[in-house]
């Protein structure tokens, strides 16, 4: 099936919440090295709340599901991930208003809208050692592989997210709390990248 349905979206978000809970400690550790140590905590809490909310929205349009996700994140995720992932889901929601299913092009548009809003909100570019380093290549890979079918495209996106995340290990952080560490931020993956990688991996699992 080469489309994204509302139920698949709910599965994605529920899966992601589970994955975050499983990786909570790892995320916290990464964040401790170059931040304030609570990224795992924040994301798990936020998405657990999201999972609880969206389970009841299985039959709603995708826009509603994503918007609800955004608003939940904003109120429950304390750090920068709140507004950043919040913006992502909010802008993504706007591309899917009233739609119960999305065709591949619409899926691409959804991810692109989300990516643009993350960049606009956080004002980060590729190479600043932020979640954008994982998200941008992933969205590009998704778009480039669309004609192979959504499942394949999602798979490629997840792979690209992972290599994007890994690329941040050896670079200096230029944004966020980590940037206060300057050169000491080298040698550690950006935690936002890992949570983004997990986001794409969860997305792949629903196909």
């Amino acid at each position: 099936m080469n489309e994204l349905t509302n139920q698949m979206v709910v599965s994605w978000l529920t899966e992601y919440a589970k994955v975050l809970e499983e990786n909570k400690t790892k995320l916290n550790e990464l964040d401790r090295e170059i931040g304030d140590g609570d990224h795992g905590e924040n994301m798990a809490r936020g998405f657990t709340a999201v999972a609880g909310k969206v389970t009841g929205l299985q039959n709603d349009d995708i826009g509603t599901i994503l918007k609800s996700t955004a608003m939940t994140l904003i109120s429950t995720v304390g750090g920068a991930s709140g507004p950043l992932y919040g913006s992502f889901f909010l802008k993504a929601a706007m591309t899917a208003t009233g739609k119960q299913t999305l065709n591949p092009d619409e899926v691409k548009a959804l991810w692109e809208a989300g990516l643009e809003s993350v960049i606009a909100r956080g004002k980060a570019s590729v190479g600043d050692k932020t979640m954008v380093d994982a998200m941008r290549p992933a969205v590009q890979a998704l778009g480039a592989n669309l004609q192979r079918g959504l499942k394949e495209a999602a798979g490629q996106a997840a792979l690209a997210a992972r290599s994007g995340a890994e690329s941040t290990i050896s670079i200096v952080a230029k944004k966020g709390r980590a940037s206060y560490l300057g050169e000491r931020s080298i040698g550690h993956m950006d935690p936002g990248c890992l949570s983004t990688q997990l986001l794409f991996e969860s997305f792949y699992k629903i196909f």
Partner: protein
């Protein structure tokens, strides 16, 4: 009173800070707290929805200043601002300064009734006290980056009656920009600034009025010399006449004393609506390569700036000083810096980045108190459109909510071509000169139009009101009586009958009452023009403009390309004579592939025929293309802007060369081919007798001939009154020289300027001995009908 919002990761910190502030100011100062998340806000973090609600509450009265601790508190606040209603958002400012010190300073300023700007500035300066106390010997801690220890300043009182309005600001910025180091200006009276003295919008934002004290600071150069000069300039009014009691910038939307002029025939009885500018969606894509995106942007800005400075932009009827002010806006370092950071930092494409920055500035200017300064928002809108146009993005489309007549201040040519023909029955402009490009387009698209209508609509809010307009006479009747409606409906019916008869008659040749056949030809440039020409009974083409094939492209068109384009366009006019004019493009920058050098005066420089003579390969390709299609169509060729016999002879030599190369390649073409020249330069008109011996025909470009003879710009409304009425007598005399010279050599004279389409003016031309008229296709039926009603010997 301005409210304050405290946004922090820590609820306790925010509450404690509020307590601290109110211990100094009392609780009348409205302070909202949006801090912490989760149960009882005990967790560290921020919630954009909470923040948004807090801001809405605090801003209810006179707006709010929002202070944030750091990091995600800022992101959440920015998101919260997006959630606000527009009316609230406009009175909210985010404070980039320290949390506690800023809150205290802001609170005190708010308590004593400070405006939002004042409160903001007080927060800005809040760290100074602490610094001065702890590090008195190192005062540069809070100084803006770039100002060094050798900074000097001078305090002055502004004498101008209307304060620093657009013209003096432009002059100020012009002077400041010449100083190599940093220049800052502060309005001490309103505590605004310091801002960069080289940025026009920044200086305007200070809203300096008469009697205000300003401080000008400079560092990094001959500061004393510069400041002395500025002192002198400011005290002398920065270009304003200080004895004048009424120095105002001229409004863009037309002088209320000017009478409306009908410029495009048609009686319309319909509801009139104020034009709504519909912002086309700017593609919000990310730039692949920020460096090349920046280069594209800079190129676009440079082109627009160049066009504004040499007066090539026929956009709105404004006087020269306003054009310079617009060009200065393009030099504004703050604007350029902000665009640059959006492109290189946020990776936005150039159009998106530019739109965002310029919209912010427009909003800021529109919120200024001084109406003269607010007017400058329309300058910003103009340059916004110009730059977007250069970047290949259509900016603003004019629309109305219902079917009706469009009422607008001014229009750009691009906006005319985008008008929705099925919705808009007529156009009324408050400004615009009769021969400006937009007006010509309105006529050729057949929109009934009246311009210079400011006097009729002054101070009136007309949305949806009934309007009668007559595009021939310029009559405008708002909210007509029943009698007037009846009267005009009759006139309208008669006019419609007239038009129908004209169209029917247009396919036949037009002969005067005394038997003289006057060919009525079309001026064309596009396929659509050619179709309209055929439909409207053109007897041929008196002017085929070829510039479009060469401009706004990466490289020149090949010979084959040109042949294909000609063939395609001329198909509807197969058996009619067609005069093709060789390239008449200006020496400005829309032919990048020719790498033309910079000229101080491109209008009077290497353009048109001179350009072709200096670029032989280009000229040959065009001449060969024209000769090749002469095998299929009845083509004649004409050279533009000929001023000397040498130029004409050189051009003819080039034509012969093209013929010879085609002949050697056995490519069919007509030879000899009828070769003529444009008569638009006074020197050629004066020597018409000599020129007539060397060409097969003349074609008078009346617009340019009038321009060059009277040294006046046709797009300039300030000048319209003296040159718009008929054909100036000096030019009539030149026309007689042209026709006399032509008669002696036995060659015909045509007119291809807009005057040919106005019956009263055409009469003058025909009486001088002009034998052929060429005009925009829409006017042909009307002119033919008129010709059939005149006697030339009158």
């Amino acid at each position: 009173m301005v409210g304050i919002v405290l946004v922090s990761h820590s609820h306790e910190l925010a509450v404690a800070t509020r307590f601290l502030v109110q211990s100094m100011t009392g609780s009348e100062v409205h302070i909202e707290v949006a801090a912490g998340i989760g149960e009882q806000f005990k967790e560290l973090g921020t919630d954009a929805v909470e923040i948004s609600n807090a801001i809405a509450k605090a801003a209810q009265d006179e707006g709010a200043l929002v202070l944030m601790d750091m990091g995600s508190a800022i992101l959440s606040t920015e998101m919260a601002v997006d959630f606000l209603e527009d009316s609230v958002r406009n009175k909210v400012k985010l404070c980039p300064f320290s949390f506690v010190e800023g809150a205290v300073a802001a609170g005190v300023a708010a308590k004593i009734g400070g405006s939002l700007n004042t409160v903001y500035n007080e927060a800005k300066n809040s760290l100074m006290q602490k610094e001065n106390h702890l590090t008195p010997e190192n005062l540069s801690l809070t100084k803006p980056v770039g100002i060094s220890m050798d900074q000097e300043s001078v305090v002055l009182i502004v004498p101008n009656l209307h304060g620093l309005h657009a013209r003096p600001v432009a002059r100020f910025v012009e002077l400041a920009s010449q100083f190599p180091g940093d220049v800052q200006i502060t309005n001490l009276t309103t505590s605004q600034g310091p801002v960069s003295g080289k940025s026009m919008t920044s200086v305007m934002s200070l809203e300096v009025l008469k009697g205000h004290h300003i401080r000008i600071s400079a560092a990094g150069g001959d500061t004393r010399g510069f400041l002395n000069k500025m002192k002198e300039e400011v005290e002398n009014g920065l270009g304003d006449d200080l004895t004048d009691t009424e120095t105002q910038d001229t409004a863009d939307s037309g002088d209320a004393d000017q009478q409306p002029i009908g410029i495009s025939r048609g009686i319309v009885i319909d509801r009139v609506y104020q034009a709504q500018v519909h912002e086309s969606d700017i593609p919000q894509s990310l730039a692949e390569d920020a460096t090349s995106e920046m280069a594209v942007f800079r190129q676009a800005v440079a082109e627009v700036r160049g066009n504004l400075k040499n007066g090539k932009v026929i956009l709105t009827p404004t006087n020269q000083k306003i054009f310079l002010a617009q060009a200065a806006l393009l030099d504004d370092p703050e604007i350029l810096k902000n665009v640059e950071s959006l492109i290189t930092g946020s990776k936005r494409n150039a159009a998106w980045a530019w739109t965002e920055v310029i919209n912010q500035n427009i909003k800021m200017i529109e919120n200024l108190k001084d109406p003269n300064l607010r007017q400058r928002a329309s300058d910003l809108k103009d340059i916004k459109r110009l730059v977007l146009d250069r970047l290949g993005v259509k900016a603003e489309v004019l629309e109305i909510p219902e079917q009706g007549i469009l009422l607008v201040d001014n229009m750009t040519p691009g906006q005319v071509t985008d008008l929705n023909r099925s919705k808009i029955s007529g156009v009324v402009c408050l400004g615009n000169g009769p021969t400006s490009h937009s007006s010509i387009l309105l006529r050729s698209f057949g929109f009934p139009a009246v311009i210079q209508a400011a006097s009729v609509f002054k101070d009136k809010n007309v949305n949806g009101a009934m309007l009668i307009m007559d595009g021939s006479t310029g009559e405008l009747i708002l909210e007509p009586t029943r009698e007037q409606l009846f009267d005009f409906r009759q006139r309208q019916r008669r006019e419609e009958d007239q038009i129908r008869k004209e169209l029917e008659g247009s396919q036949k040749a037009a002969v005067t009452l005394d038997g003289k056949l006057i060919p009525v030809m079309a001026n064309i440039g596009t396929k659509q023009d050619a179709l309209m020409a055929a439909e409207n009974g053109a007897d041929g083409v008196g002017l085929f403009r070829t510039e479009f094939m060469f401009v706004n492209r990466e490289n020149g068109p090949t010979e084959q390309e040109q042949v294909d384009i000609f063939t395609d366009i001329l198909r509807p006019l197969k058996d009619k004579p067609v005069v093709i004019r060789t390239l008449d493009a200006g020496g400005d920058k829309n032919i990048p592939y020719l790498n033309l050098p910079n000229e101080p005066n491109p209008f009077l420089g290497i353009r048109a025929i001179r350009l072709c003579l200096q670029n032989e390969a280009l000229f040959q390709s065009q001449l060969r293309a024209i000769l090749r299609i002469s095998a299929v169509f009845k083509v004649e060729i004409m050279f533009p802007l000929i001023a000397t016999l040498e130029e004409l002879r050189a051009a003819k030599r080039q034509l012969i060369k093209a013929h010879e190369t085609l002949k050697s390649e056995n490519i069919a073409h007509q030879w000899p081919i009828k070769t003529g020249m444009m008569m638009e330069v006074p020197s050629a008109a004066i020597l018409a007798e000599e020129f007539a011996r060397e060409v097969d025909f003349f074609s008078i470009g009346t617009n340019d001939l009038i321009q060059y003879t009277l040294a006046a710009d046709r797009g300039n409304t300030q000048l319209q009154q003296s040159i718009a009425k008929g054909i100036p007598s000096a030019v009539v005399r030149l026309i007689r020289l042209i026709t006399d010279g032509a008669e002696k050599a036995g060659i015909p004279v045509a007119v291809c300027g807009e005057t040919a389409s106005h019956p009263e003016l055409a009469k003058i031309l025909l009486d001088c001995g002009v034998s052929e008229l060429s005009m925009n296709p829409k006017s042909i039926p009307e002119v033919k009908t008129w010709i059939r009603s005149v006697r030339l010997s009158d």
